[in-house]
Amino acid sequence: MTTPLLDIQNVTMKFGGLTAVRDVSFTVQKKDLVAVIGPNGAGKTTLFNMITGIYEPTIGSVVLDGLPLNKKMASEITDLGIARTFQNIRLFNNLSVLDNIKIARHTRIKYSFFDGIFKTKKYRAEEKMIEEESIKLLALFNLDSKKDLLAKNLPYGAQRKLEMARALATKPKLLLLDEPAAGMNPTETKELSELIHFIREEFQIAVILIEHDMRLVMEIAEKIFVLDYGNLIASGSAKDVQNNPKVVEAYLGAEI
């Protein structure tokens, strides 16, 4: 077996006396489309924060493509190929849609600081390329006509899409989506599920999503991990998970 794309090994995260994630391990292969589900406060977002380097796991390690991510800064991890969106959208609100995408190109920039200040040929050529690529990326999300709007003036659904486009602009190998369907209506959710499939095929990357919309999860996830109170209580296909008594218990409470 080849090395998995993402290997999470026995990670634990403690905040003071509270253990948000306890001894969780799983792997994600290249081009996998997996979901992490669980009741509120189960530790899903904390898991994302550990993968992306916003938190350092108390115990355990996260390995990307055979490379341990411990002690790496969030910005380095982005450089290595993990991108994400946020549960509460975090766009650069007062910048244009296009600039939001351009910023995400940051780690791939080759011209130096002095090239930028003196507007050298190298700067101009690369900026032109960035602009074109960014517009092309926005076009995939039907946002190219809105490129000059301020991000905060986009409608909610478009903001979610822009956040995904921005994450993809960092050219990741692995994309983490934190509740992408939150606040969407059924039609939008349906569109989203197509979009996620499309992203995986177009960019040839793995996707992990946290989601509460079970219909979406069951429809698109090839593998599901269930967290409850910080513990990984089940994993497997949609069918396996649905029939797992522990999962039913976590969601509905124990039967008497």
């Binding site: 905040f15 977002t45 924060n49 916003i54 946020f86």
Partner: protein, 298 residues
């Protein structure tokens, strides 16, 4: 032990006592700073000017030969009323505009009172008679004045009062609720505007009290609020801004440190030492000695 070392210890003790007395005044001013910060997260740069205006109210009361207790009440009410006006006219409209506009406004208000004060009252310092006749008690080589004891006692009393207020009265609990979560407090039916105004009034009247008490060590003048305000603010941050006992602790630490440095080393470093302590604390524990760390939710 040689004679010199013994004198050194007596000197230290003297500086310690002077420091506690001065720290008491810092503490009283810092309490107002901390309460306002605790409730609306505003660094109220004009707090020192509330102190100055309060001190002037007391000064004029004494000039009209009113008795000392009346002058003290005039100081407290004067500072409190100015604070209410400033809060209603300036701070309230800007409260939701974010931190930086609010801070700039506070600095603007501070400057406005300083310089308008110079034009109205004149820039020359005015002497205020002490609260009561100063009596010095001597223990060995150390002097303690009755005013120092009075101020220290008063500070402890104020602390007790604030503790009682915030824990055992309806308005105090509302204050704590508002400082914990303004929106939630509003939804619970608390009139947060009223609570914030009350906090300003309370904090400023304490500043006014400190202002008139300071009259006996320094004179009253329009710029007096600036350095005192900044010091009290440093005290509040050192102790943990937003935490009431923290403000008092910070005040005492600063008062003692300043007197020690000024006495044992060089008086021109008096102002530097408070900032030095500030930096050390910010680097070790930014939320202050008694403050709680808050982590941003991602």
């Amino acid at each position: 032990m040689t004679q010199n070392t013994i004198y050194f210890f007596w000197d230290c003790l003297q500086y310690l006592i002077n420091g506690i007395a001065q720290g008491s005044l810092y503490a009283i001013v810092a309490l107002g700073y901390t309460m306002v910060y605790g409730i609306i997260r505003l660094v109220n740069f004009a707090h020192g000017e509330f102190l100055m205006l309060g001190a002037f109210c007391g000064y004029f009361a004494l000039k009209f030969h009113l008795p000392m207790p009346v002058a003290i009440i005039a100081s407290m009410l004067g500072a409190g009323i100015v604070a209410l006006i400033v809060e209603r006219m300036i701070y309230r409209p800007i409260r939701n505009e974010g931190r930086i506009p609010a801070l700039i406004t506070a600095i603007g208000a501070s400057l406005f009172f300083q310089y308008t004060g110079q034009l109205v009252f004149g820039a020359d310092p005015k002497t205020v008679p002490p609260v009561f006749k100063e009596v010095l008690y001597t223990f060995g080589e150390v002097n303690v004045s009755n005013i120092q004891v009075f101020i220290f006692g008063l500070t402890l009393l104020i602390l007790l009062f604030l503790w009682w207020l915030t824990h055992y009265t309806k308005i105090g609990v509302a204050m704590r609720a508002t400082s914990f979560n303004l929106k939630a407090a509003e939804l619970m039916g608390i009139n947060t505007n009223k609570i914030i105004a009350f906090t300003f009034f309370l904090g400023a009247s304490l500043a006014g009290l400190a202002g008139i008490l300071m009259g006996y060590t320094m004179s009253v003048e329009p710029m007096m609020g600036m350095s005192l305000g900044l010091k009290a603010f440093v005290a509040a941050v050192v102790g943990g801004i937003g935490v009431i006992p923290g403000a008092a602790l910070g005040g005492f630490i600063l008062g003692i440190a300043e007197n020690m440095v000024a006495g044992l080393y060089k008086s021109s470093f008096r102002d530097g030492v408070s900032f030095f302590i500030l930096i050390i604390i910010l680097l070790i524990k930014p939320s202050g000695i008694l403050g709680k760390n808050v982590k941003e939710k991602v």
